[in-house]
């Protein structure tokens, strides 16, 4: 185990550093919605509330109507609506759905580590 010990330490260190940085990263989000449907409206409201609660001042959100930008839909590989695409920080993620499952959203966006109960945040968003 000795030779690998050092490597393990350094990987761990990198990971922790990345985690620390994550708390400061700027989020680039794109939300694809289909017109003014109930699902779309709910998704837009959810993302805004979530951003304001957890990413205050360090996120940028673009809302794209799939009906008006079919080329962008194709180039970004979007199938479902609503879809929230996180371009930054890496890794890229695609969140499909109206974002009503806040816990999954937070996990997918790396805002909240897995396993954190965070009941208040859920209430805040809702």
């Amino acid at each position: 185990m000795n030779p690998s010990q050092g490597t393990g330490d350094s990987t761990l260190a990198q990971f922790e550093h990345a985690l620390a940085e994550l708390g400061l990263a700027r989020y680039e989000l794109t939300l694809f919605v289909a017109g003014a449907s109930a699902l779309s409206a709910r998704a837009v409201a959810d993302v805004r509330a979530l951003g304001d609660t957890y990413l205050s001042g360090r996120y940028r959100l673009a809302v794209v109507d799939v009906h008006r930008n079919p080329d962008l839909v194709k180039s970004r590989g979007v199938l479902a609506s609503p879809t929230l695409v996180k371009d930054s920080p890496l890794p890229k993620r695609m969140l499909v759905g109206d974002l009503s499952d806040t816990r999954r959203v937070l996990v997918a966006l790396d805002i909240e580590p897995v396993g954190d109960p965070a009941p208040e945040s859920s209430g805040a968003v809702g």
Binding site: F32, A34, L39, V66, H67, P70, D71, V73, K74, G77, V78, L79, A80, S81, P82, T83, L84, P91, K92, R93, M94, L95, V96, G97, D98, L99, S100, D101, R104, V105, V107, A108
Partner: protein
């Protein structure tokens, strides 16, 4: 809903001519015949089958033919392959997807669905996909759409219920847009498709299959259902050839070949004569069938030679002999094939039937015909193909082949080995395809075996109903009349001896007649002699009678004179004086 609900039961006779549903022809050889005109227009059709059965190709050809033959642009939504891969895969079939895309007639959209970087965080729908598809349809004004393979969506999303409801919505939406769609699906366990999407595509379902029977693989196609239309219900073999898919319906296809009135010689004047004079029709199909060693190949070779002698090209496809062997054997009976090979008019294609599947044989034959452009194609013997497939498939393949050759105006001659005097099932299967059927029979008897030929049928020409004995001589085939007696037909030495017998009988009769004539002549002479004698006797008698008559007449005169004289002498009684005088005198 733009879909048209058709009238109830269509009549079997007119289903091809008068489609009750609007149909979109696929342009795929054979498929339009099987579906009675094509896929339901403006509706989705499900094409399902296991991996590698040709689903994607069927979809792609449907689009390409739509563009090239029917002026209907198309959209290919690929869930499995990228546009580049697709283009490369079908380039070998002569489909230039890149150019069609550049011309604005085709849109290929590769939908990459990767579950790994997707999270489901609530309710969603597939509007994104609809938009992409809608945009692609609008961009090329598409009339046809292929979704290949849409079931991949089930792999991308964990919420299968939503995928289902969205697929239902998608198919409804496609119908509303009025596009003719082909949806492919992977075959599932105990179901047509893995995720049961056949529930949503109910208008037309085509099942493809890829089976290996006796080490030969054959692709098959079956129309499982076609709502509102009659359709062929069989499993049809199909193959992927140089120009795409080709479905082989069992029955003959369009039957719309242009026919030729031209007759071509069989290479034997006597056989031509049996066929009403000038020989067989150009572009007809001829079968020479018979048992082993009856001279089928020789007749086939003679046909080839006759074609070459007319300056036409002949293609000889041999399934059991090599070209040098055929040339040597035919040279021994005076048919010089090597000469025509050297002249470039004859080409051999010798292949064991088991080397290739039937599809591949058909493909090879068509390629050869296209390259060589013959006016006659010989296949010797077709029965060997049965080794390469089931009987029904062989006849399907031959149907296709004969159709192909007829369409090109090429005369086809086949030889078929039959096991006995009875027609074999393979003969019967192809009987309806054949225009002229020559049967060669071995006639046993008297410790020898003779060959006889008769014409079982010959469409469109007066032909002999007589059995002809034929000999294979150093100068080819020679036909002889068989001896047809009152009770029996004789061939070979029996015929010869019967003929000798006939000859000696005839001689005897002739001699008899001569004798009788001689006798009659003698009799005539004797009759004449007798007549002469009798005539002379008659003459003699007549003379006597005449003499007597003359004597009789002069005697009468004398008596009169005497009576007058006596009366004068006895005048006393007459007037007295006289008598006195007379008495005085006395």
């Amino acid at each position: 809903m733009t879909a048209v609900i058709s009238h109830p039961v269509p009549s079997a006779v007119s289903w091809v001519e008068r489609p009750l549903l609007p149909k979109a022809p696929t342009g795929i050889a054979g498929l339009d015949e099987v579906t009675g005109g094509g896929l339901p227009r403006g509706r989705p059709t499900l094409v399902c089958g296991p991996a590698g059965c040709g689903k994607t190709l069927l979809g792609m050809e449907f689009l390409v033919r739509g563009i090239t033959e029917y002026g209907e642009p198309g959209v290919f939504l690929a869930f499995e392959e990228t546009a580049g891969d697709l283009a490369a895969n079908v380039a070998s079939l002569g489909f230039d997807l890149t150019r069609m895309q550049a011309d604005g007639l085709l849109a290929v959209d590769h939908v990459n669905v990767v579950r790994a970087d997707m999270d489901e965080t609530g309710e969603w729908d597939l509007d994104g996909l609809f938009i992409r598809l809608g945009a692609a349809i609008d961009a090329v004004k598409a009339r046809r759409v292929v979704l290949d393979t849409i079931e991949n969506l089930f792999g991308a999303f964990s919420d299968a219920a939503t995928v289902r409801s969205e697929l239902r919505r998608l198919f409804g939406w496609l119908k509303e847009r009025g596009v003719t769609a082909v949806v492919t699906g992977e075959r599932g366990e105990g179901a047509l498709t893995r995720h049961g999407i056949e529930e949503y595509v109910s208008d037309c379902v085509i099942v493809l299959d890829h089976r290996v029977i006796e080490q030969t693989s054959t692709r098959r196609l079956r129309i499982l259902k076609y709502r509102g239309s009659l359709h062929g219900t069989n499993e049809y073999p199909f193959f992927i050839g140089e120009h795409g898919l080709s479905v082989l319906p069992i029955t003959s296809l369009g039957l719309q070949h242009a026919v030729s009135e031209e007759r071509v010689s069989t290479g034997n004047a006597r056989l031509d004569g049996m066929l009403g004079g000038p020989g067989v029709f150009r572009g007809s199909s001829i079968l020479v069938s018979g048992t082993a060693g009856t001279g089928k190949s020789t007749i086939v070779a003679q046909f080839c030679e006759a074609a070459c002698a007319r300056g036409e090209r002949a293609l000889y496809i041999a399934f059991e002999e090599s070209a040098p062997q055929i040339i040597r054997n035919m040279a021994s009976v005076g048919i010089d094939l090597a000469r025509w090979m050297a002249a470039g008019l004859l080409q051999f294609h010798c292949v064991r039937p088991s080397v290739l599947g039937l599809e591949a044989h058909l493909l090879a034959m068509q390629t050869l015909v296209e390259d060589f452009q013959p006016s006659l194609v010989a296949m010797d013997p077709i029965t060997n193909l049965i080794g390469a497939g089931q009987g029904i498939e062989v006849s399907a393949m031959l149907t296709r082949e004969i159709d192909y050759l007829k369409g090109q105006g090429i005369t086809a001659i086949f030889s078929g080995l039959s096991s006995g005097s009875e027609l074999t099932s393979s003969d019967q299967q192809i009987a309806s395809l054949i225009d002229t059927w020559l049967l060669v029979k071995a006639i046993d008897g008297n410790g020898e075996r003779n060959r006889a030929l008769y014409i079982l049928k010959s469409r469109g020409m007066a032909h002999s109903n007589q059995v002809r004995e034929f000999l294979i001589t150093d100068d080819g085939i020679e036909f002889i009349d068989v001896y047809v007696g009152q009770h029996h037909v004789l061939t070979g030495s029996a015929r010869a001896s019967q003929e000798a017998d006939e000859r000696s009988k005839a001689t005897a009769l002739k001699q008899d007649i001569e004798q009788r004539q001689l006798n009659l002549e003698r009799r005539r002479k004797s009759v004449e002699a007798q007549a002469a004698i009798m005539w002379r006797e008659f003459q003699a008698e007549a003379d006597i009678v005449e003499r007597l008559r003359q004597q009789g007449s002069s005697a009468g005169e004398v008596r009169e004179e005497e009576r007058v004289e006596q009366g004068r002498l006895r005048s006393a009684d007459a007037d007295g004086t006289g008598a006195v005088e007379a008495s005085a005198v006395d």
